[in-house]
């Protein structure tokens, strides 16, 4: 999911100049100052037209892949910004900060010019720890997101396409995984695997195995509906192989659902891993936001009032989750266009009230 496309019409919330020019082209009563002969846009600021945006600008048709991209809204922009900044911090941050494990004799010092987020009990720099921990959490989120999406796509789409016994077997399997209580199982497995072999991938695998089932059921229902459509019959009729029917004819119509489930799986994985690490059951010798919180808890950060130790990792988890959720709401609008219509109607009502 990327940001705006060239075909995106200017939004009322966007640059006001672009808005006015668009409306000016539509209404003949608009001042000529904007597109005067030889007169550039510079000059007097464009006065608002008499009926400002009574009709929202018509959306140009979007074709093919573009139609899969969500409409740019302020909320989506906020979500993309949050996710982008945190990802950037996790990617680049570790190269710019010092060693997070260096122990100094300035334990539990508040934020200063040198340590902008203060230090831990043992004098380690919180900001460096935060950079490495963000990277660790993002790694977990990405691995689990990909694994869970692949698993749910395989069991959901392939089973529903095959039908018959395979479908029954696959839905039985996903039903079983659905009723397994995720976090307790994860705790049991993590407790069972000895800490030395409890690496990043073990935790990721456990989280992925407990989180794919719900998505598989949604995908199965969607596939059952798409599979019935005539264009799928038509492509079978022309002799397409099953994998091509699935990948080329059915899958594109499920992409918004898959994207939304991927985003959700990433949120769930980061939260789940943070929970595990906080309980001390996370991946050993790895650094994530959850382990930071674990050490902050062990170091009595809260009773000692060392807010700079536990607030930043908590805030990053919260903001990243919020950003992904905002992106997910925009993807939901592609799956269910009625949501978009509702938003347009709200906007229309608002502009009517203002004018």
């Amino acid at each position: 999911m990327t940001t705006s496309t060239p075909t995106d019409p200017p939004r009322p919330t966007g640059a006001s100049v672009a808005d006015s020019t668009l409306i000016a082209q539509e209404s003949p009563a608009a001042p000529t100052a904007i597109t005067g002969p030889g007169g550039p846009i510079a000059g007097p600021p464009p006065t608002p037209p008499p009926t400002p945006a009574a009709v929202p600008p018509a959306q140009p048709r979007r074709r093919g892949w573009r139609s899969l991209l969500p409409t740019m809204t302020p909320w989506l922009a906020l979500g993309l910004t949050l996710v982008g900044l945190i990802t950037l911090f996790g990617l680049i941050g570790p190269f710019l900060v010092g060693d997070p494990d260096t122990i100094r004799d300035i334990g539990l010092a508040g934020p200063t010019g040198e340590n902008i987020l203060g230090t831990t009990q043992t004098g380690q720099d919180v900001f460096s720890q935060l950079a490495f921990a963000t990277r660790g959490s993002l790694q977990i989120g990405l691995i689990v997101g990909v694994l869970a999406t692949v698993l749910s796509a395989f069991f959901g789409i392939y089973g529903a396409y095959l039908g018959g016994f395979a479908d029954e077997a696959f839905s039985l399997l996903s039903n079983v995984f659905l009723v397994i209580p995720g976090l307790p199982l994860v705790i049991v497995i993590s407790g069972f695997v000895p800490p030395e072999s409890r690496g990043l991938w073990t935790i990721a695998l456990v989280l992925a195995l407990t989180s794919w089932a719900a998505s598989a059921r949604v995908l199965r229902a969607q596939t059952l509906s798409v599979r019935q459509r005539d264009y799928v019959s038509a492509s079978q009729l022309s002799g397409e192989r099953p994998w091509r029917v699935i990948v080329v004819e059915i899958l594109p119509n499920l992409l918004p659902v898959l994207a939304s489930q991927f985003v959700y799986a990433v949120i769930a994985a980061i939260l789940g891993e943070a929970g595990l690490s906080f309980l001390g059951l996370g991946a050993s010798n790895s650094s994530t936001l959850g382990t930071m919180l674990f050490y902050a808890q062990n170091g009595f950060a809260l009773p000692l009032g060392a807010w700079w130790w536990f607030v930043p990792p908590g805030l990053i988890i919260a903001l990243f989750g919020m950003g992904l959720s905002l992106i997910n709401f925009s993807i939901d609008e592609i799956i269910d266009p009625r949501l978009k219509n509702a938003r347009n109607a709200r906007r229309l009502a608002r502009t009517r009230k203002e004018s």
Partner: protein, 297 residues
């Protein structure tokens, strides 16, 4: 050229009714032949088994019993992937039969490549444009890049016809090809089908519930009721001189400007008393038990 010989075609569906299962016979011992250059119309109300026959002929479903043989000119049976090339179908709903995600060019290019009609991208492209021009979708260059939602119903149905003909099909199943279209463009699509049929001597099975277009467009008519053929014969004979009660009922239910007052109930056949077990064969000029094969005249 190839012809189709359908013998005693029967299809049962299993219906789960709580714990019990019962069989529903959708098609009951239907036999007919499709020959190059001729159109056979399959007429009947909803649920009479018309679309099931289409699915059986296109091998989207397996028949419970009976045989479907596609024979080439020298009498050889067509099997396997060649069957997919020979027998193609135009679906009823042009809004559902094209994938909203893909361009018009994709829909026509895939069958071309699958059946090795074209070898490389350039020849596929030129063949796609030629197909579009054959179905009167011009300018072809522009149409090829469009997506289904940018086309009207009639244009979509033309794309669907082009897709069906792309593999080089000799047998075309048209499942109510115009019932979802505006009345004003129905004739255009039907005339296009007729022209393509004459050009490539296609064998066409025209499935419809509309007696008027069946007479206009086809050579022979089979009237289907509850999965059985109840009347068969040349189009004019079946429409103008219906013998079976069900055919009479169908003819009466079509709107007729001379009968604006409505059907006189007493003269209409009783719907509940329709006898499916007999079939009037206009070629023989006599009643036969339905399910027996037509004797070549």
């Amino acid at each position: 050229m190839s012809s189709v010989k359908v013998t005693d075609l029967t299809k049962d569906y299993l219906i789960r009714d709580g714990l019990r299962r019962r069989r529903m016979r959708a098609v009951n011992k239907v036999s007919f032949e499709l020959t190059p250059g001729r159109t056979v119309a399959l007429v009947g109300e909803s649920g009479s088994g018309k679309s099931t026959i289409a699915k059986l002929l296109t091998r989207l479903e397996r028949p419970t019993s009976g045989t479907i043989d596609v024979l080439t000119d020298d009498g050889a049976r067509v099997a396997g992937s060649a069957y997919r090339r020979e027998v193609q179908m135009v679906f009823q709903d042009p809004f559902a039969s094209l994938n909203p995600f893909h361009s018009v060019a994709h829909h026509i290019a895939r069958p071309l490549r699958l059946h090795k009609r074209t070898q490389d991208a350039a020849s596929t492209r030129s063949e796609v444009l030629a197909m579009l021009e054959r179905v009167n979708l011009t300018p072809a260059e522009e149409m090829a890049e469009r997506r289904p939602h940018e086309l009207s119903g009639g244009q979509r149905q033309r794309v669907a016809i082009a897709r069906a003909l792309a593999p080089g099909a000799q047998v075309l199943i048209a499942d109510e090809p115009v019932s979802m279209l505006d009345v004003s463009i129905r004739l255009g699509v039907l005339n296009l089908l007729g022209r393509l049929q004459r050009e490539s001597r296609l064998a066409v099975l025209y499935i419809t519930h509309d007696l008027a277009t069946a007479r206009h467009f086809s050579d022979d008519i089979l009237v289907l009721h509850h999965g059985r053929v109840v009347e068969r014969g040349p189009a004019d004979a079946v429409i103008l001189d219906p013998h079976h009660d069900y055919t009479k009922l169908l003819a009466l239910s079509a709107p007729d400007p001379n009968r604006l007052g409505g059907v006189v109930r007493s003269t209409a056949p009783d719907r509940d008393a329709i006898d499916d077990s007999v079939c009037y064969d206009h070629h023989l000029g006599d009643w036969v038990p339905s399910g027996t094969q037509e004797v070549a005249a």
